[in-house]
């Protein structure tokens, strides 16, 4: 196609100008793609570590327990275990007793959430056992051992081997207290967790609360986080008297984060595209102006408006179509590379931990996003071609050639 050939050669008539435009497209799209990949990576990592440390994939409760933490809203083994075992993609599950209470030492007191866990089963569901930084993970013969977070230990001015008194209401509403030995101190991904969450052994708590075989919560891990919704639906159908929730419902902010992120990222991308479009349109208007006579001449000798428009359109679009895929390729390969190697965020560790994010980010970019960016590049290419194209065909041929 000769129009294509002319357009292509015209681009290289002013090499520097075209290169500047192309380069800015490359850089803009690279930055956009990498920002998207980085943000998704950050988010995915946050989600996964939150799921791994706390939420798990599916949670089962007594309907009255959800949000209330009422000690008497319990369940017992009965059907639950049986239904769980029938779940095809089940990875692991664990039972918990959960109770709100007060932790006290001679130095201070603090409101806490105590989780009674089965240390062995719990380790298959969450990774708290890997987060112990001093003492041990219930590897003890002590009576009423507890695992507390670093923040709480600081607040209560206590340490491994010392005692903390916990007070809560039992199943019948009676106030009960227990003196527990701190056997370990953990540091999780979230300082909020470290400050409020205490782990005890499930049977200790069951005895204390007067509910020897009952529990409040079952946490389930599927083979993949994406299977949570179907698994939850299946369980819910089988256990109508209980509330079964996938992680997206337990922790809606984790699920929403993805959506809000993707829309805000596309706004960012849109802004980048708009800026690039401005540059492209400007450059091409300049090129059209410079070629007034030449364009007038081709109109005079019989080139129709449509062809002139298409010629300018191709030239404009080519700028984006050279720069776009290049930027996309660079952005995607950077993302892929750092998706493996990770980007260490040294210096931000403290702040990020509070958000439940660890300090190495692995950017993620999927084919879907690449396609979306590609579509945006194409749209930019075509949209930015319209104005210069119109300007080119508005020229009056006779006047354009007269303008000597």
């Amino acid at each position: 196609m000769v129009l294509f050939k002319i357009a292509w050669r015209n681009i290289w008539r002013n090499k520097l100008r075209s290169l500047v435009v192309i380069l800015s497209i490359v850089v803009g799209i690279f930055a956009g793609v990498f920002t998207i990949a980085f943000s998704y990576g950050l988010n995915q990592q946050r989600t996964e570590s939150m799921l791994r440390s706390m939420v798990s994939h599916i949670q089962i409760h007594h309907p009255g327990f959800v949000g209330e933490y009422a000690a008497d809203k319990t369940m017992d083994n009965g059907q639950v275990q049986q239904e769980l075992e029938r779940l095809p993609q089940l990875e692991a599950y664990t039972k918990r007793v959960v109770v709100q209470g007060l932790a006290q030492t001679a130095a201070n007191s603090a409101g806490v959430m105590v989780q009674g866990i089965d240390p062995v089963a719990e380790a298959t569901v969450t990774d708290m056992h890997q987060k112990v930084i001093s003492g041990s993970y219930f590897d003890t013969k002590s009576r009423n051992p507890v695992l507390i977070g670093t923040k709480l230990a600081e607040k209560l001015k206590t340490q491994v081997g010392k005692y903390v008194v916990f007070t809560f209401q039992d199943k019948l509403g009676e106030v009960v207290s227990a003196r527990c030995k701190v056997v370990g101190i953990y540091k999780s991904i979230s300082s909020k967790i470290d400050e409020t969450l205490v782990f005890a052994q499930i049977h200790d708590l069951q005895n204390l609360l007067g509910m020897p075989s009952e529990f409040h919560e079952v946490a389930v891990v599927m083979q993949e986080a994406g299977q949570a919704r179907t698994g939850a639906a299946q369980l819910q159908a089988a256990l109508p008297s209980l509330t079964v929730r996938a992680w997206q419902e337990v922790s809606p902010e984790l699920g929403y984060a993805d959506e809000t992120m993707s829309s805000s990222l596309f706004i960012i991308m849109g802004i980048i595209m708009l800026a690039l479009m401005g540059g492209i349109v400007n450059t091409m208007l300049m090129a059209v102006l410079e070629r007034t006579r030449e364009l007038g001449m081709v109109r005079c000798v019989g080139m129709g408006r449509v062809k002139v428009f298409v010629m300018i359109m191709i030239e404009t679009a080519l700028l984006s179509l050279i720069g776009g895929p290049l930027g996309l390729a660079v952005g995607a390969s950077f993302s892929a590379y750092y998706g493996k190697a990770g980007i260490p965020l040294t210096g931000f560790d403290q702040g990020l931990e509070a958000f439940g994010i660890s300090n190495v980010v692995y950017p993620v970019i999927t084919a879907t996003e690449i396609m979306q960016v590609m579509a945006m590049v194409l749209a930019t290419a075509l949209l930015s071609a319209i104005v210069p194209g119109i300007r080119a065909i508005r020229l009056k041929p006779a006047e354009a050639v007269r303008a000597f």
Binding site: I6, E294, R299, C300, V301, G302, G304, R305, A398
Partner: protein, 228 residues
């Protein structure tokens, strides 16, 4: 039968409070095979006349018949196509597409006409041979002299097999050697191929080569002389 006939052709430009009568009551007939110069002082309306005959500009009143067809009634799109199929143009400068080679520039017109590639190539090469540029096929305009560029423009104008070629001061930017050379080529094409040429000029040496000289003054034809 005349190729070009104008009847009471007038063109007025409104320029603020003034009306400039660039052409007034121009009646003109140009026959097949003519080699005609339009002359006259600057501002006398030469370019205006050529532009209107060439369908590049609209007249204020009057008619222009090309082969008996009134082109003043054509719509923009039809006019563009009419120019493409029937009229060859040579301008004073900026005749060529800078990013295309001599051969590609000549082929360009035929491409717009939809001539197939092989025929295009063959005709372009023949025409460039005819204007003495067989060695410059692959040169871009910037790599050629002004005279060579105008010869490519003539070849390009002929490529469309037009009914006539309009040339507005084709030699204005050329030295006398190139001017003579271009005129030789045009005269030969006129003699051998019976191509009709209508060109405007200020240059006495060019006027001397024309077989018919039409003089314009203030937009009116004041003389119409056949030489030898």
């Amino acid at each position: 039968m005349s190729v070009i006939i104008t009847k009471q052709l007038a063109k007025a430009y409104i320029d603020g409070p003034n009306t400039i009568h660039a052409l007034q009551a121009v009646d003109l007939e140009i026959a097949q095979g003519e080699f005609t110069a339009i002359v006259g002082p600057s501002g006398s309306g030469k370019t205006t006349l050529l532009n209107i005959i060439g369908g590049l500009d609209a007249c204020t009143s009057g008619q222009v018949f090309i082969d008996g067809r009134d082109i003043t009634t054509l719509k923009d799109k039809e006019l563009t196509n009419f120019r493409l199929q029937h009229i060859g143009f040579v301008f004073q400068a900026y005749n060529l597409i800078p990013v295309l080679s001599a051969r590609e520039n000549v082929e360009f017109i035929m491409l717009l006409q939809g001539v197939d590639k092989k025929a295009r190539r063959q005709r372009a090469d023949e025409l460039l041979l005819a204007v003495g540029l067989e060695g410059q096929l692959h040169k871009r305009p910037a790599e050629m002299s002004g005279g060579q560029q105008q010869r490519v423009a003539v070849a390009r104008a002929l490529a469309a097999k037009p009914r006539f070629v309009l040339a507005d001061e084709p030699t204005a930017n050329l030295d006398s050697e190139s001017t003579a050379n271009l005129l030789d080529i045009m005269a030969r094409l006129n003699a051998e191929e019976h191509t009709t040429f209508v060109f405007s000029t200020h240059d006495q040496r060019v006027i001397d080569r024309a077989r018919r000289v039409i003089t314009l003054q203030d937009g009116r034809i004041t003389a119409d002389v056949y030489n030898g």
